[in-house]
Amino acid sequence: MNNMEIAIISGKGGTGKSSISAAFATLNGEVLLADCDVDAANLYLLFNPSHEEEEVFIAGEKAFIDYSLCTNCGICVDYCRFGAISFINEKVSISEILCDGCRLCSRICPENAINMVPNDKSMMYSGSFRNGKMVYGRLSPGEENSGKLVNMVREKAKEIAKENNLETIILDGPPGIGCPVISTITGVDKVVIVTEPTISGLHDMQRTVEIVKKFSLPAFVIINKYDLNSDMSDQIEDWCRQNKITIAGRLPFNKQVVEAMVMGKSIIEFAPDNEISKNITIIWDKITKQKK
């Protein structure tokens, strides 16, 4: 059986991307829902998945000085390109914040006084929720390599989807255009870009589309809260048309989306007869039925 992987992303956060992902995940049939926004995983709040498995994710390393060996020679200071090593009160010290974990200092220290300690506070969880299976990652604060954690989440997602015969994999992506976004969309079947009718919404969407085009992926745009600024929504649609991006649909602003979230539900579960729920169903059909 072939999976269909659909990534939901948005150039910036707060466009309602996660609420839309949650709605898609509860439309019909069981799905595999993967929260790839590892920096701010949120969907578990709505779906309370069981924790059937967890795995530690090592997000690089940080250098620490063993002061019982260090002679304060200062050689390492000059080698570090990240400005992480300096003399503080005449003593060599490494800033945990600035250290990039390249290991160079540890390699060149003549006294072998620098140890590398793995960042092992990030986790990946998987389990069941009321409409299928769920995988999500939580990156520990301050850490990088979130792209790698996203890859790990996606691999796990595929594995579980296969075991459980789940055809559809929904990936709720991170904001931005950096490494974790690229990891989220690489090799997926379809990309859904959620935007809102603001100047920044338009800018960010344009940057996101550029990324998606680099990977030659079929992209669909959803304009969320379109009625906040209909002119801007038109402008976004025009731009999409000129750039041959399919508009999957528009959704109005509606307080019920927030109320649903407060109740721990998706809008589909909370208000199935609401205009938004109906629209989301139509949008989903449009996205999934279009041939690759």
């Binding site: 956060g13 707060g14 920096d39 301050g142 407060v262």
Partner: protein, 292 residues
């Protein structure tokens, strides 16, 4: 000089709304202020003002160039690279730098004993400086599309802040990972903007924990107050985190923001509220050895 970072666990809570309005209120009231957009993956603050681009500087990183004539395929550089950015197949005499993975740490150059490695700069993004009424008051970090991490560009923007201002507003990147930490690390105080929803609370908690780890004084602005529930307020009380301001939810605010308008320009009450927030912060946390 006092640096205040405006951040939010997830994007779209109104971080840029607060940052731009705060800057505008300070500017209108003759404070010596500056706005630095550190959200290098999706910088949007500048568009709210009638600015002129005055200077743009390229931000680069060094990546190795391997001269295969000198290379003995000893593999030492591959061994030294902690980011798997050097691919080597000695029997086939193949060696390649994967520039996307390279962090420019310089370890491979140190490793090579055969003079086969030199370095070249590659562009990561830009720092642009803009003027408002002929004064250079805005800086913007902008990462190139396809670059993996915005951190270097953010650091470059922060390093360009001169001491011509008393209050610098940093619009921080969303999330709590590396780019966020690099931005807030340079700030004297962090204002977290959140919304009173379960998603907002979950992200807020993560941001607060992160900022506590690095001992940053923090306060919270609740945006779109009235939507959602009371859990954020209860959390702030319990954790003794100052609630600096509540901005009520109004559809008109969202609509005016979407048109690119600055609310504090027409709403003097709001401008005054923002000013007192800053004044209170400055009284309590102003950089004592750098009083303004």
């Amino acid at each position: 000089m006092m640096k205040i970072a405006i951040a939010s666990g997830k994007g779209g809570t109104g971080k840029t709304f607060v940052a731009t309005n705060l800057f505008h209120a300070l500017y209108k009231n003759n404070y010596r202020t500056k706005l630095v957009d550190c959200d290098a993956e999706a910088p949007n603050s500048i568009a709210f003002f009638k600015t002129k681009l005055i200077k743009e500087s390229d931000v680069t990183q060094l990546v190795p160039v391997i001269k295969t004539d000198n290379c003995t395929f000893c593999g030492q550089c591959h061994e030294y690279c902690n980011y798997n950015a050097i691919f080597i197949l000695p029997p086939m005499k193949i060696i390649k730098v994967i520039e996307d993975l390279c962090h420019g740490c310089g370890a491979c150059s140190v490793a090579c004993k055969f003079g086969a490695i030199s370095e070249k700069p590659v562009s990561l993004g830009k720092v642009a400086s803009y003027s408002l009424k002929n004064k250079p008051l805005l800086l913007e970090a902008k990462m190139n599309i396809g670059v993996m991490s915005p951190v270097t560009v953010i650091k470059a923007a922060i390093s360009q802040i001169d001491n011509q201002s008393d209050i610098v507003i940093l619009d921080a990147p969303p999330g709590t990972s590396c780019p966020f930490i690099q931005t807030v690390a340079s700030a004297d105080f962090v204002i977290l903007v959140t919304e009173p929803t379960p998603f907002g609370l979950s992200d807020l908690k993560q941001s607060v924990e992160t900022l506590r780890k690095i001992n940053k004084p923090t306060g919270v602005i609740i945006n779109r107050a009235g939507l959602g529930n009371n859990q954020v307020r209860e959390y702030l009380l319990r954790e003794e985190i100052p609630l600096l301001l509540e901005i009520p939810f109004k559809k008109e605010i969202a609509a005016s923001y979407s048109r690119g308008e600055i609310m504090s320009e027409t709403d003097s009450f709001f401008a005054q509220q923002l000013l007192s927030v800053v004044e209170n912060i400055n009284e309590q946390y102003g950089n004592s050895n750098n009083k303004w």
